[in-house]
Subunit: 340 residues, 2 copies
């Protein structure tokens, strides 16, 4: 009888409305033959938790297919090949995959990328050398067009994307203002990452602090949170400011009530015109042609110490659900990974 293996995986049990809760997920175990008929069987070393996954849980059109109840939660992963039906991959290969929240998935050979563990810790393929790092790089450079002396503001500044955005901004000569939640994160952003200023958005006088931190206004706002931070940033934008719109994490679980004195859409458009603002949404795959350039630059910056990164690793598949909910609430500190 063929050797079998138990694959444990987390599925979306039901669609959340608002903030997801444990009831929206369930853990499945399936015993299968170890050897797949096609493709390769992986032992997952790490999988990634990212804010965009919340969007996948909603119905309706977005830039990717929505999950349906019963589907395995999606996402990037790094795994070791433990059985292969494909001549291109052998046992022991470490690969970047997109197999989501599971311990021993079977994946198609197409789309896998072999990783060289001697070049960088393999987990970085899910972070600073992976999708979040490339999101920061492509959005900031292609839409933000940072120039020396300009003021760049980025929220979620200790997170996987925000930390890279700010450090690339420093490399390009910008004055960088980061926004994060709490004293520990702001200290890290300022002292470890070298941002010029780090502000705690929970401070009662955050609005005044933001204004004071941007005496020359804001030239680039890398938008990854939306909501209240956007409302405070918007009046500070300079003529010709660029706003790469990368994410809106504060809005993913519903819209907060909006104060009537805040701008309406016609008022926003008036400012877009008068200040010649550029607001532009993107996702990293829009710039996939720049992957080699990104890997080259980012690997160089990491080895020179110009870009630092921090990982927040959670052990155990069953911890993925509370960790993901915590991510949506800003409770992670650095690139969030699960070692299942």
């Amino acid at each position: 009888m063929a050797e079998t293996i138990v694959n444990r995986r987390i599925i979306m049990a039901s669609r959340p409305s608002g903030m997801p809760g444990p009831e929206n997920f369930s853990l499945e175990e399936v015993e299968e033959p170890l050897q797949p008929p096609t493709g390769v069987r992986l032992k997952t070393l790490f999988f990634s938790l990212d804010p965009y996954m919340r969007g996948r849980m909603d119905e309706g059109p977005s830039y990717a297919q929505a999950l349906s109840p019963g589907d395995v939660m999606e996402g990037g992963s790094v795994g070791e090949v433990i059985a292969s039906a494909d001549p291109a991959f052998s046992k022991g290969d470490i690969v970047l995959a997109y197999s989501g929240w599971q311990t021993h998935p079977v994946v198609k050979a197409k789309g896998l990328r072999k990783l060289d563990p001697s070049l960088a810790p393999v987990s970085t393929a899910l972070g600073v050398l992976g999708m979040p790092g490339m999101t920061a790089y492509t959005g900031l450079l292609n839409i933000g067009h940072p120039k020396a002396g300009e003021t760049l503001v980025v929220a979620a500044a200790s997170g996987a994307v925000g930390s890279a955005v700010g450090q690339i901004g420093k490399i390009k000569g910008c004055r960088v203002v980061g926004i994060a939640g709490g004293a520990e994160k702001t200290r890290y952003v300022r002292e470890e990452l070298g941002f010029d200023v780090a502000l705690d958005h929970r401070a009662p006088d955050f609005a005044e602090q933001l204004k004071a931190a941007c005496p020359q206004g804001i030239d680039i706002y890398f938008e990854n949170v939306g909501g209240r931070v956007w409302d405070l940033v918007f009046p500070l934008l300079n003529d010709f400011a660029r706003v790469p719109v990368c994410g809106l994490i504060s809005q993913y679980n519903g819209f907060a009530p909006r104060a009537p004195e805040l701008p309406s859409v016609p008022e926003l458009m008036e400012q877009v015109l008068v200040k010649r603002l550029r607001l532009q949404g993107f996702i990293v795959s829009d710039f996939s042609a720049q992957q080699n350039e990104f890997l080259h630059d980012m690997a160089g910056w990491i080895s020179s110490g110009q870009v630092k990164y921090r990982e927040d690793v959670v052990d155990g598949l069953e911890k993925a659900v509370p960790a993901f909910i915590g991510l949506l609430q800003g409770r992670n500190f650095g690139k969030l990974l699960v070692r299942p």
Copy 2:
């Protein structure tokens, strides 16, 4: 005694709130020596009336200095030199100036551009070969990036800017949908200018007509009106749609009440992200480096018949005020000029 001349001019008597009325303007007559101490004296042949002038009448920051009560109404003009204190200009020269609503202004030599009446009617320097034409050209090409087969929507399609936008879009291979007010203008846009579709925004079923006219969605919306048209266009925008924001004429005299079911700013930003939209404001002077390229291309298109234009000429300085109010209400038909 030196020869004198009477310069008649229209000043902003008071700041309008909402739609300007005749009470916000007054006509002044000043008798002065014909010969200026410096610069040149012009006899105005045409001056231009443009929507942006409404913005100049408001206080507060915009992309140009606001007018103060007592100032002559500003704007582009074409004049004949009738007296010169500058060796670079002689009596009889025809020049493009920025002398506003007056009959016999004195202007600085710097900033004047001589026009050659044998190349094109001199009035076109205020229209299709001038600021409005270059606004259309630079905004559409630099921000709209039209590609063959895409759907381009433009409002105020019989106007100075909109008519050029649509015709350049046709040259670039777009399917062009124009929006105008009334049967005469829509007929002109379709039959004379060669747009694929022309819609009357006054039609009771305009919303349905717009949707039906864009079965493949909208790739480029050249925004020059704002308000209701924007609200109807917004849900039809395709992934990667570009929106050059050139003007918002429907909003210049105040914001219409906004139906609660229309998107709020956070909802707009969500669509910017999900659809990777690009919204970008501009004014023509942002692209002044492209003037020679513009003049070359546009002159070629006019002589080949690929771009047509229409002028709406009003005779008499005192007619400028009702003509300007009519412009803000969409009552002009083509590039509005005053022959004072």
